[in-house]
Every structure is written in C-alpha cells, then in structure tokens.
C-alpha cells in the first residue's frame, strides 16, 4: 500500500515534453464522432427518406394491431398508435440537440460575460454578480426549470432560454475563477502598463485564455442541458407539441403494460439519449484532463 520512493527530484526534460504531447485518446475522437453523427442525422432528418414521424402506419391485415416490434419495415418498431419510432427518434434529436446547444451557448455568453466581468473588476460588482450566482444555485435546477416552464409559454426558444438561465451560474463561476487566476499573470499586467483599456485587455488577453478551460465545460454543459430537456419533456413540460427524446420515452413508459409488452418504444430513444450524453460527458472529461496536464506543466 505505501511505498518508499527514492527517485531524485529532477525528472529529465524529455518526460515533461512527453506529457505535453500526450494524445487526447481515441475515445475522445470516437465520442466526438458520435455527437457529430447524430447531429448530422438530426439536421438532415427531414431530407432523409424516413417515414413521416407523425404518420400512423396501421397495418391490421399484415402485422396485426400495433405496437409493432422492430422489423425491416420499422427499424425501431412502432408505438401503439403505429407511429414509426426510428423516424420519431431522429426528429426528436432535432429538438433535444437544438435545445442542448442553444442552452449552453446562452449560458456561455451570458454566464461567461458576467463571470469575466466579476473576475476582472472585482469589488462590489463581483459581490453582486456572485450573489446572483448563488441565488441561481440555491435551487435544484429541475425545480427552477419546472417553475419557469409553468409560467412561460413552451416554445423552443423559451425552453432553450430557461435551460440557458440554469447554466449561467456554473459557467459564470468557472469564468470568474479563471479570470481571477489569469488576471494576476504578467501578460495582463504588461498590457495594462502599456495603457490598454479594460475592454481591450478583456477581449484580447483574458478571453482567449479563459475560453480554454471553459471548452470542456461546454461539452459537459451541453450534456446536462440535453438531460434537463429530456427530463422536462418526460414530465410533459417541454416544447408543446414537440417530438423530443424525453417525450418519446414518456410515451413508451407511461403505462406499465406498454412498457412491459413493447419496451422498444421507450428503449430506443433511451439508447440514443444515453449514447449522446455519454459521448458528450466522455469527450468533456477527456478534454478537461488533457487541458489540465498542459496547464500544470507550464
């Protein structure tokens, strides 16, 4: 369990260089590929020769009463109204991914800006912004999301905004911490001595550096947003009339008999959701450790 090590403290230069060149791993690229793949499918969904996601493909004479299991005709089977799951899953990807992406983008823009401002200017501005972050974080995020969906209309835009608001605090905190860390570094002081204005310093010196650690958070945040939207949709609180993974899962699991006899209705959307979230989590995680190594050996 405990070992005695005697290695002298001067590791040769080559070791540090090796660490810097450490690859991010094939897993990372695999995960990113999946995300790109599913995004492409989602974007192209209306143009692929899919069955109509809102169409009813009842075929009593041929296959009996729906729900139909997976077959050559319906790759993921159908639900009990004989709607094609495969088509619906791909269409569902559209909303889920759009919401995920928009939410984290919104969170980044707003949260990131607030965080950088707080970290750069400090003082009472920092105190106010940090307090706002704390308020946002004093709720379990789902509760806040539910509350807001109760009050506002349920359009794609609104739902994205709501989830975006939820990500402001975590993004903002990281941006603030990063900014605080970098503000003390020499290159910022150097810029200030030349007489650069605050906005110039922020944009040209701080922003590029702060963005790096935040990029891993972007991937992770997107995963969280997708899951959050899934949760809302599952509860019936997401985009009204929208097909999203969460709503598909809800349809497939609402009644115990459906779940028991036709599990594919829920399971295929679950699979897609799981794979996407897993990929984003994995990619974000790998990116973060990759960047940490670089940072610590600088």
């Amino acid at each position: 369990m405990s070992e005695e090590t005697l290695t002298p403290s001067d590791a040769p230069e080559t070791e540090i260089n090796a660490a810097l060149q450490k690859k991010i791993g094939w897993g990372f690229w695999l995960a990113i590929s999946w995300v790109i793949f599913i995004t492409l499918l989602a974007i192209l969904a209306p143009y692929l020769h899919l069955k109509d996601p809102r169409g009813y493909f009842i075929d009593i004479d041929g296959s009996g009463r729906p729900p139909y299991g997976p077959s050559f005709e319906h790759w993921f089977g159908t639900d009990k109204d004989a709607r094609d799951i495969f088509a619906r899953s791909l269409h569902g990807a559209r909303i889920s991914l759009i919401v995920g992406f928009s939410a984290i983008s919104f969170g980044f823009i707003v949260g990131g800006t607030l965080g950088i401002i707080a970290g750069y200017f400090r003082g009472w501005l920092d105190k106010i912004i940090s307090f706002c972050f704390i308020i946002l974080l004093s709720f379990p995020s789902l509760v806040l999301a539910i509350m807001l969906t109760a009050l506002l209309n349920r359009s794609l835009f609104t739902i994205s905004m709501i989830l975006g608001i939820l990500s402001i605090a975590p993004v903002g905190r990281l941006a603030r911490a990063s900014t605080l860390q970098f503000s003390d570094r020499e290159f910022v002081l150097a810029a200030r001595q030349i007489g650069a204005s605050d906005s110039r310093i922020i944009l040209r010196e701080l922003l590029p550096n702060v963005v790096i650690p935040m990029s891993a958070l972007a991937l992770l945040g997107m995963a969280v947003a997708i899951v959050a939207e899934g949760g809302l949709a599952f509860l019936g609180l997401s985009v009204s009339q929208g097909i999203t993974w969460g709503s598909l899962i809800q349809i497939g699991s609402d009644s115990a008999t459906t779940l028991e006899n036709a599990p594919w209705i829920a399971f295929f959307p679950i699979l897609l959701l799981f794979l996407t979230v897993l990929s984003l989590n994995f990619a974000g995680d790998r990116l973060r450790s990759h960047l940490d190594v670089k940072e610590s050996s600088l």
């Binding site: 369990m1 308020i135 709720f139 539910i146 899934g230 509860l235 609180l237 028991e260």
Partner: protein, 318 residues
Amino acid sequence: MKFWMQRVAMAILLLLSVSALTFGAMNVLGDPLFNILGPLAGDVNNPKSAALIEEVKAKYDLDKPLPVRYVKWLGDFATGDMGVQFSTDGQPPVSGLIKERIPRTITLLVMAQLLAVMISIPWAAITAARAGKRSDKISTMNSFFLLAMPNFALAILLKYIFSLKLGWFPLTYKAIDPYFERLRQVFLAAVTIALPAAAVYQRLLRTDLITTLQQDFILMARAKGLSRSRVIFRHAIRPSMFSFITVVGLNTGGLIGGSIVVETVFRIPGIGSSLVESVLREDFPVVLAIVMLIALAFVIINVLVDILYSIIDPRVRR
C-alpha cells in the same frame, strides 16, 4: 460565534431573495385571476362575471401592489398558511396537501441517501485499496456509464427489470398499506436516486482515501500489525470523510430534484409529483409553496453540513 451569525444572516438573506423572486415571477409572469376564474377572468363586460372578478380580487388582495402582497404572503407562509389550491374543487388549503405528501417524499429521500452512503463507502474502500488495478478501472468505467444515464431513463429501466419482469417490487403505491409494505413500494424509487449519487460519492471518497493512504500514519498503522481492512476503516476513512460529508449534505438538494422525476415514474404521491401536477394544472399557490419549501430545505441543509463538519474534524472545533 461571529462565524455562525454571518452564516445565518447570509442564509436569511438568501431565503428572502429567493422567495421574493419566486413570488414576483409567479405573479408577474402568471395570472392568478385567470387561474381561479378561467376564461371568465377576461369577461369584464358581463356584470355577473365582473362582480365575481371584484370579489376574487378582494378576497386574494389582487389589487394591492406587489411588494405589499409579498410581505403579506411571507407573513402567512411563516405561520403555516400557504394559501389554497386554486385548481382543486372546494379550494382546500395548500398546507393540508403538503402535510399529507411530505412524509412520503422524506421517506424516499432518507432511504435514497442512506442507500447511497451505504453503497459508496465500501465501494470506495475497495477501489481505493485496489487503485490502478483492473477492478478499479472497470469500476470507474461503470460509474461513468451510470452517471450518463438520465434519472428518468434509469427509473424506467429499473421498473422494467425489477417490477415488470422480475416482479420483486409492486408497481403502485397504496397509502393504506402497512408501513413495511409501503417501504417496499418506495424502494425502487430510492434506488434510482441512490445509484448515481453513490457513484459521485464513491468517486470522491476514493480519491480522498487514496491520498490519505499515502500518509505516514497509515504506514505506522500497518507497522502495528493491523489488517488491511482495519487500517482502512479505523484509520483511513475518518480523515478522508470531510469532502465526502460535505458532498453528501450538499447533494441532498440534488436528490430533491431527482425525486420529482422518480415520484412521477413510480407513481408515488409525494411533493415532487405534486409539483409536476400543480404545474400542469397551473395551480400557482401550490407551486409557490413547494418551491419555497424546497429552497428552505436547501439552505437549512447547508447550515447543518457546516455544523457537522466542525464536529467531525477536531482540528476545526474552536
């Protein structure tokens, strides 16, 4: 002493801000009049409905300015009066609903937290002792997969396997059943919440354990002739618990969020499912009351975590 006063003051400030924002959001973005009267609320020209509107306005102080209403509501809330359920017939008091449902949610959360802690500690101990070896790597991979699964999906999977296919757990919750039977009904829901939480706890505890195990006093404990499990459980665990306790405490809030979904899937009539129902029915007093309770719980838990922390670490005690 000053430390505590600061914390409490901050907590109160937080609660006030949260409640003000929530109340404000509810009343500005929503329309209470509409909730109570439905389409009649817009029908100002009809004298009968106009009178009704006035009556309702007076009854619920809807004419007074927002801050006044907020203060009044806050006062009522503090004394236990949470208004009435707008969308239920007869408009029974909200507090009744809460009283009825809270025990179930609390049972669920307590069970979930207990399970999570009970699972994570031995899991962390084993993986810390075998750090770097194959079993550890497999465990890390499994955790990762587990955490990538959204809780409603996990709930459905567990329901499918254990309730439907294996029949080990009942499908519905019946309030009239004896206590033990009800616990069984809640169990799967608790497990759904507990598993991802356990994965998070385990990961953290494992890291801290590994660090602790490098310390000199662990070598000393081994040199005393203690067995490996003794060394871990008697010596290594306690100093490693600090972050663990903090995370467990702070995560309780996250569990609350999880309970919302899980209560819906497993059809448990608790606060979580009540929140969802009242949102769908646009019954704002209920939504407001539940949100406030949750925020209150959050803040109180944070303070408790601080107290617990100072008890565990004798070095922090002043």
